[in-house]
Symmetry: C2
Subunit: 251 residues, 2 copies
DNA sequence: CTAATTAGCGTAACTCATACGCAGTAAGGG
DNA sequence: CCCTTACTGCGTATGAGTTACGCTAATTAG
């Protein structure tokens, strides 16, 4: 009665729906502990440092003990991907959709920036955990007064998530690469210049000639600008869509 | 004279700039062979099947032989990421920028769809290989008649790449998950319905009530529609940007 | 008290990436 | 024609990773 047919195992775990058992020793470990330890480890040393052995060590348990609580390492990664994004701040009251979505996007970005390994996780399904769904709900809520159909809202939000996801991955990867060897990046323009043949890649050659890639310095800042630039373009498109859909011209 | 200071090693490899040596045995293996074998393997069995041992086996060589041609496995992955995307078809002559970018995007999508592991590669830098740069050049070329500054073009193209990249990753991951267990996906709406509390996630609950997630069947097709929807929104934004920038109002 | 149930863990099998050094091979110099 | 030189391929070994399996001990239901 409390549990109808079959929820996928990971989903149930994320929502804390375990069947409570009475017999046997009290567990000294909980899934939450494990996930928390794994996240701390990833924060400190990167996602590649997250091995079952290291997580167990951090908890003072043996490696195999973890498998009593988690089906596999991939399972653990899925749990991490939901737990890492804390619930979003509620949208300010009475703001228009555009302000709302901008606020939402900024929130995603700061949330993800706390866990730089996030973009390296192998995602394998649509959002299903409580935190991820809260973010989804928040974005949908920002569109509540637009008059869009539910389907339209979902389309807009999925496009936004796609863009944000892409930007996160791109910028995090670049930032990581930049941290690894700053030289290769500051010379990016120079490297390209030596390799690009203006006959074959004329448009790119012109960009290089204009020196656009010469001033690459850090990444955490330039990102911000690029990110916002693309975001505003997308939101402009959304604005057009809303107008077209909800206020048909009275021609 | 033929080789000035220091090109990053991977970049040189991608462009086939090896210093030719005369002495010693003729190599029985080339970087190209290795990369091709690795790509075939990834196409057939997924990126996780790509290990140095498996690639070498496929070539009839020993594992360690590969390291004569490739610095590390990561190096090999970088080479794969450039080699996997064959050069783009040239843009049709005389098309406007919007048609051009749509064409370009479709090209990226079909190119990537041939290698479904592509989105799982750990990218660690801006594009530098011949194929990747050809794609970049092609997109920039589509904007040649817009009157945008070089910097503006780069911004627009980077935003587009970000969106496409995000979409690719999302859709490929979903498709993979769908292939793994179709059940969980066809029940996605039902699963959410059981877990979403309308008090806490009201906007999401409404979407569910409208049945938006009920008709999830395949993914390769619905993707197309979602993808195009978001893309057109972004291009709408670009159109506004071009107008604003290049044809200032005569108020 | 007994039986059922479950947590933690030790062992071991397997797959990986890769450092290191040796052996053999082909070209250049005499 | 032979030796030097530089380079290729490969065998071995190390250390790290995931995880199947089965044992032991703890805990509670009856």
């Amino acid at each position: 009665m409390s549990k109808q047919p079959e929820l996928p195992a990971d989903v149930a775990l994320m929502w804390g729906l375990r069947d409570v058992t009475k017999r046997g020793p009290k567990p000294s470990l909980s899934v939450e502990d494990i996930v928390r330890a794994a996240i701390e480890l990833a924060d400190a040393e990167g996602i590649t440092a997250v091995s079952m052995a290291r997580v167990a060590e951090r908890l003072g348990n043996s490696t195999m003990a973890l498998y009593r609580h988690v089906k596999s390492k991939d399972d653990l990664l899925v749990l991490m991907s939901d737990a890492a994004l804390e619930r979003p701040d509620p949208l300010p009251d009475g703001v228009d959709w555009r302000t709302g979505l901008t606020f939402w996007t900024a929130g995603v970005l700061t949330a993800v920036r706390k866990h730089r390994w996030y973009s390296k996780l192998p995602i394998s399904g649509p959002p299903a955990g409580p935190n991820n769904l809260a973010w989804l709900d928040s974005a949908l809520g920002a569109l509540k007064d637009t008059g869009l159909s539910e389907e339209g809202k979902v389309g807009v939000v999925m496009g936004l998530m796609t863009y944000v996801q892409g930007e996160i991955r791109l910028s995090m990867d670049l930032a990581a690469g930049f941290a690894d060897n700053p030289d290769a990046f500051s010379r990016y323009g120079a490297t390209l210049a030596r390799v690009v043949d203006p006959r074959q890649l004329p448009a790119l050659a012109e960009v290089l000639a204009a020196g656009v890639f010469d001033e690459v310095e850090s990444f955490d800042e330039t990102d911000e600008a690029d990110f916002d630039f693309g975001l505003q373009l997308y939101l402009d498109g959304v604005a057009g869509f809303i107008e077209r859909t909800c206020q048909p011209d009275v021609t």
